[in-house]
Symmetry: C2
Subunit: 236 residues, 2 copies
């Protein structure tokens, strides 16, 4: 019996129409679909492609406890990888769906690390938030000889300031509760006036605003701050 | 008469199936399609979507002379923007197709800078080479708290070394004739053994190899070097 393939499918930033033709084809034909989910309730990744999940198929929700102390994340992925491996061994393809792109800060790497080498794995790249946020903000991310820095919001304040100093273009990803810190860092660097805040890009609730107008009290996890030293110099 | 919309359509890295459902819909319905092209011969961007360009439509090839001295690039974009504006004013939508993503080092910004504000413009994000190359190389681009640096190959050698020092993950884009320099920089930083070279990702002629095995004499313009300080530590 031919063994199945694990597909890491990037399903894009939120708008169901921003999935690729390839991911759509593989998703609608896969007998097993796996996705990350919170401990209780609906999976964001699954909700993006819900309209395409017609017909009978097996679903594997990889549920991550809010309090990882109770049930370590490693154990959750071990169990999911075992379940997926069982389907692959029985010749069933498994589509692991990922918000954005599987290899751009995605949790797919935890499945990949456990299953690649022992099973056939193919990654189907997707539209990442890194390009979706500039698209809805209406400003180029990087151009010509720009050096672009992508920096997670969780970075310690001094470290973030040091990394961002001197770059032409930057995206601070996974801003969430770090919004106040990000604002302080960019203010210190004199880049605050040129920074834009984006949340829920291409989804219901999409918000784009100057960083200075945000409420520093907090932001959703999937939010991004974009800054370009050139400002709006691309305008003619 | 309603004025038309200019769509900046990311068509992905090369595999025609890596276009989004949205870009496919807009492309197949737009009465006018514009794309970058060399002075003579076929457009790479157009070749990606050639199978979708059935039916009668107006095509605008934005031809860039090899020797920009003869006919400045600015003048080429001025003329193309004028032609596009004419269609928009007559109520025709124009799909400007872009390899990868329009705002990730794309030439679309030159049209955008000339037409945004005066015309309705919508950018449809696409799968960029930044995520397509890691997908075919089979290794995560960035994860967890990684800082990711995207650096054009054209950077001066000392500057490139300075920028790359200390980062966890990096992508050197538009490597082309700068391959020898990129190799020297990564060797100096002790990252050479962990770097992979990718050319023509998802296209015919796709090549993935360790950087150390490349022929430093040259590489195509659309080539990338990926490096991660962690190496293969994501493997378990």
């Amino acid at each position: 019996m031919t063994r199945g393939t694990l597909y890491g499918l990037g399903v894009g930033p939120g708008d169901p129409e921003l999935i690729t033709l390839k991911a759509h084809r593989l998703l609608t034909s896969a007998p097993v679909v796996a996705y990350p989910a919170p401990e209780h309730g609906a999976s964001l990744a699954r909700s993006i492609v819900a309209d395409y999940l017609t017909g009978a198929r097996t679903e594997i929700a990889i549920r991550m406890p809010l309090d990882p102390g109770r049930f370590p994340a490693e154990a959750v992925y071990d169990e999911a990888a075992g379940e997926i491996a069982g389907h692959l061994a029985r010749g069933r393809d498994v589509a692991a769906i990922c918000e954005g792109d599987p290899f751009f800060y995605g949790s797919f790497m935890y499945l990949f690390g456990r299953l690649a080498g022992r099973h056939r794995v193919e990654v189907v790249p997707g539209v990442s938030s890194l390009v979706a946020c500039p698209a809805v903000a209406g400003a180029p991310l990087a151009a010509r000889d720009d050096v672009l820095l992508v920096c997670p919001g969780v970075l310690e304040e001094d470290e973030m300031r040091r990394r961002l100093a001197g770059v032409e273009a930057a995206a601070i990803v996974k801003v969430g509760r770090h919004l106040g810190k990000v604002r302080r860092v960019l203010e210190t660097l004199g880049l605050s006036g040129r920074a834009r805040y984006v949340e829920h890009a291409t989804m219901a609730g999409q918000t784009v605003m100057p960083l200075a107008e945000t409420d520093a009290a907090g932001a959703p996890y999937f939010s991004m701050v974009l800054v370009h030293r050139r400002g709006e110099a691309w305008r003619r």
